[in-house]
């Protein structure tokens, strides 16, 4: 697991060079309509994300449905072509690589999908699905591929004999293990886990999560863990990034985020975590309104129409930058009022409980 003694919140810490540097990443989707399918609008799924992922750490990415988490993850492993911005992977700019140039990167970055029922080809035997990556990346010997598939299946807690079965013969949890085996067989450096447990029963979730954690330390993986469940993220992450409407609202180490959130959106999210104790007093912040449409986002800070502390003339005009707050350089938030962005750094943490 990542070095928790040094919660490398910012690029400045620069102990060793980070594995992934995302700069101003934008991904837009055209919306077609009308009789001739002309482009009538643009969905800003990811609008200017900056994110650095250190080697060996797990970054949790949380946010509600439709905030762009999945798009960010898919763009990071280049299943989607970024509209603008750059992605640096291990010192190499992979933003606009195409075809065969992308192949070495494909080997080093893998993705685990949310739905284990659709992410495996129903017509391929599990062993074939797992070994296809090896085949595509030049492991010619059939015996070696078979050997590695067997090892991988055992590593994720399945049996070698399962290789000849089809996906529909497995349960959801087993399938997600197969998904893990498939993603990890190429020994990638980066794994994007896109809500890997949200389609599973709660009883199976922990199994898969613990397996992922074990494998991470065993294989020295760097993980971007996408989830909407804050409890799950707290369990696996070193650092947590909170996303809202295509932008990162706040990013810091797990402990700091849960104890001392800076961004009002993070506060609202944390207050919504259910506590299994009916007598404990709750201080719930219920957000008003709906998430604005990413086709037509509000001006200024995207959160300003729902923000309890928004200031007219500031928050609905300027887009806040991701800046450190009052508790150190590795706790970043995109809020005019809670960071050193403006002179109004008066509203302090006392309000943030």
């Amino acid at each position: 697991m990542g070095d928790q003694t040094d919660p490398n919140g910012t690029p400045q810490t620069g102990k060793s060079d980070p594995l992934v540097i995302i700069k101003d990443l934008v991904k837009e989707f055209p919306v077609h309509g009308g009789a001739f399918q002309r482009q009538v609008a643009t969905v800003n799924a990811v609008s200017g994300v900056n994110l650095t992922i250190q080697r060996g750490e797990t970054v949790g990415l949380v946010g509600e449905s439709g905030c762009g988490k999945t798009t960010l993850g898919r763009t990071l492993v280049r299943l989607l072509e970024p509209t603008s911005g750059t992605i640096i992977f291990d010192g190499q700019d992979i933003t606009h690589l195409k075809g065969s140039e992308l192949k070495p990167f494909r080997k080093r970055a893998q993705i685990i999908f949310q739905d284990p029922y659709t992410s495996l080809d129903p017509r391929s035997q599990v062993g074939t699905s797992i070994s296809e990556g090896l085949k595509l990346h030049g492991v010619k010997s059939k015996d070696e591929r078979h050997q590695r598939v067997t090892e991988m299946l055992e590593l994720v807690g399945l049996q070698a004999s399962h290789a000849g079965r089809y996906p529909h013969e497995f349960s959801g949890g087993q399938r997600q293990r197969i998904g893990l085996a498939r993603a990890l067989i190429l020994k990638p450096d980066l794994v994007v886990a896109d809500e890997p447990v949200s389609a599973l029963d709660v009883s199976v979730q922990a199994q898969v999560l613990n397996l992922l954690k074990e494998l991470q330390s065993e294989l020295d993986l760097t993980v971007l863990f996408i989830a909407h469940n804050l409890a799950v993220v707290e369990h696996v992450s070193d650092r947590v990034a909170v996303m809202y409407l295509g932008r990162i609202a706040e990013i810091t180490s797990r402990e700091r985020l849960y104890e001392h959130p800076l961004h009002p959106y993070t506060e609202a999210l944390l207050s919504a975590i259910p506590i299994p104790d009916p007598d404990r007093p709750r201080n719930r912040q219920i957000l008003q309104g709906e998430v604005p449409s990413p086709i037509n986002p509000p001006p200024g800070c995207f959160f300003n129409p729902r923000c309890p502390i928004a200031q007219d003339g500031l928050c609905n005009v300027d887009v806040p930058k991701l800046l450190p707050g009052d508790d150190g350089p590795d706790h970043l938030a995109a809020c005019h009022l809670r960071t050193g962005d403006s002179s109004q750094l008066t509203v302090n943490s006392s309000q943030a409980q």
């Binding site: 077609h32 399918q37 898919r74 492993v77 299943l79 075809g99 992308l102 192949k103 494909r106 080997k107 970055a109 893998q110 993705i111 999908f113 949310q114 739905d115 659709t118 992410s119 495996l120 080809d121 129903p122 017509r123 391929s124 035997q125 699905s129 296809e132 990556g133 595509l136 990346h137 089809y166 529909h168 013969e169 998904g179 498939r182 190429l186």
Partner: protein, 359 residues
Amino acid sequence: MLSFITRRTLLAIPVLLGIMIVVFLLMRAIPGDPCTSMLGERATPEACVEFNEANGLNDPVFVQLGIYMKNVLTFNLGESVRFSRPVTQLLIERLPLTTELAMSALFIAVVGGVPLGILAARKHNTAVDSGTMALANIGVSMPVFWLGLMLAYLFAVVLKDTPFALPPGGRLSAGVFPVPYYEAWGWNLTEGTFWARFNEYIANHYIFDTFITAQWAIFWDLIRHMILPAIALATIPLAIIARITRSSLLEAMNKDYIRTARSKGAKESRVVTRHALRNSLLPVVTIIGLQMGLLLGGAVLTETVFKLAGVGTALFDAIIGRDYAVVQGFTVVIAAGYVIVNLLVDISYGYLDPRIRVK
């Protein structure tokens, strides 16, 4: 697998029996009778009594049905009143042409329809997609006889004396007869035996016969005659197959396992052929099986337009002439063919989808 085939074959028996009974009763329910259509002006009541007596048509309908069923079970399909020949002999002469026509049309429909569907799906929401699907809609709505006439006009009249000219009708050019393979290979067949008739039936598939005996001049002549009717007959199934392929492939392309394949680093062509297409073939194969019914129905019109002496024209003439035995015999054979094709389709499901195989 064997038990599956046996079970399905046994299940086909009630289907075929049902068809036999329905066709038998329908033919007798429609107005008109064999006597008047056969004897015409000379069909006096006395002559008709004699005619009906000679052909066993005076018995009660259910007695006739019983006799007919008994005969069919011994592979005796009765005798044509109009031609005074056994129905099986007519089938031996007529069925091969229709089989070849239907197979050629099916070949064109699959070879044309599947790639068109793939193309439209790969170029989803572009001019290529809309264009292909507009063409497919036109194809589905095209009446076979009209298209046949237009094709014949274009290739036999407008393009006459060009290298693209094609004959407007008939199975072969005048005066050309293929040599059956059993004669070419000097087989000694005793006239009238089952084996001789079976070989005659097989050899009447002229395209197949001339191919295996390398009578290339006649083979190409057959192909040239087959092109237009096959295209006319293939249009509707081709358009349907293209549309099904497109929608099925589009659905598959949206699945996570396609993203999985891409993230493994697979080339787009591999992603489409190995992952998406294989998973989207099931509905396509179902449709191809169902098209067989359409092809046999369309064959009646196509054979009429292109003056081909196949099952379609024979069936049409037999219905007009109230030639009961021919209508019944041909219908049962066509139905059996349809049942067999759909059995093959069901067997292929097991190959195409492992989830079906397990059972």
